[in-house]
């Protein structure tokens, strides 16, 4: 069987179109698939969550950490996977950690949509309501942020070193993080 000479340009164009669509779909899907895995893992270890909140406290970073690429060995982390489709998320912190720390919120397409750090909150307090665009109404939180996607991920970073006193202070600071239904 052979392709009619006048039809091969159509087949080439169709093949190019399929290739372009496949390429675009792959580029679109990569960050979403990676974030889906992170969000699932980030909230999946109930044994290590604090009672009453969804905060996960991973062990200090070393070469055995294989969950997220390029982990920083100089940071201690706390994470919180969330879904604000039904109700908003309340994020709170009250700490006196006097070194660098930050809390970043990521959408399910991997975009960062909010960051607060120790210089933004010199009193060590964060009181944040994370909501979906369809949630209206007043909030008692100090600040409200609208999540661009329902599912997302919170990552708290705390700068540490080998000093046991610093390590203990960072540990106490991350344990002060709360993620809960608003």
């Amino acid at each position: 069987m052979s392709i009619a000479p006048r039809r091969w340009p159509v087949h080439v164009l169709l093949a190019l179109l399929v290739m372009a669509l496949t390429h675009a779909l792959t580029v679109w899907a990569i960050p979403r698939l990676i974030m889906d895995r992170i969000i699932t893992l980030g909230g999946g270890d109930a044994a290590m969550q604090q009672s009453g909140t969804w905060v996960y406290l991973p062990p200090p970073t070393d070469h055995t950490q294989r969950r997220i690429v390029m982990p920083s060995p100089d940071l201690l982390y706390a994470t919180c996977a969330f879904d604000v489709s039904e109700q908003p998320l309340r994020v709170s912190l009250d700490t006196r950690y006097d070194r660098y720390w930050s809390i970043a919120l990521y959408a399910s397409n991997s975009d960062t949509f909010f960051v607060v750090n120790d210089r933004d909150a010199p009193d060590g307090r964060v009181d944040l309501l994370v909501k979906s665009p369809r949630h209206a109404g007043p909030s008692t939180a100090a600040q409200t942020v609208t999540a661009p996607t329902h599912r997302g991920f919170l990552l708290m970073r705390l700068l540490v070193n080998d000093d046991p006193v610093v390590r203990a202070a960072a540990e106490a600071a991350r344990q002060a993080l709360r993620c809960s239904d608003a």
Binding site: M70, S72, T112
Partner: protein, 151 residues
């Protein structure tokens, strides 16, 4: 405290997701990830490199070595990075550290590597100065020199 309203394009988002997912934007952190030495050769885990430079203008900085899979090299000493807190400075205010296998155990500023294959270094700058945030390419980057022939 800030909302990050800017959206990355699809290619940037995919590239960052593969190599540096959950990174922060430049107002918080700058990341430099050289994969080549000063001669343009690809960095390799089985080679030894000398990194030296002046402390970058940032609140805090570190250099970390990653294997080709973007995870930390396994090592019994649990040394994975040097930072502005622990990198010794010479009398001209410059730091120097070694990266690679088989460095002397007494060398305080050494990041061990393991195995063979590609590797990458990551320089993180937390709280970089505003001029550098506006123009990250203006950084006086540390030099990365291979010390000897590799296997």
């Amino acid at each position: 405290m800030q909302e990050s309203g800017g959206e990355a394009d699809a290619y940037t988002r995919a590239r960052i997701s593969l190599g540096a997912v959950l990174a922060l934007d430049r107002s918080e952190t700058l990341y430099y990830t050289p994969e080549h030495d000063d001669e343009g050769n690809t960095l390799r885990a089985e080679c030894r490199y000398r990194i030296d430079g002046t402390p970058p203008p940032a609140r805090w900085w570190s250099i970390t070595a990653y294997a080709a899979d973007n995870f930390l090299f396994a090592n019994a000493e649990r040394r994975y990075s040097v930072s502005g807190e622990n990198a010794p400075l010479d009398n001209q205010g410059r730091f120097m550290t070694l990266v690679g296998p088989n460095a002397a155990d007494t060398d305080r500023s050494w990041i061990p590597t393991a195995g063979t294959g590609g590797m990458r270094l990551t320089l993180r700058l937390y709280g970089a100065g505003e001029p550098l945030q506006r123009d990250p390419g203006a950084l006086a980057a540390p030099s990365v020199k291979r010390l000897d022939d590799c296997p």
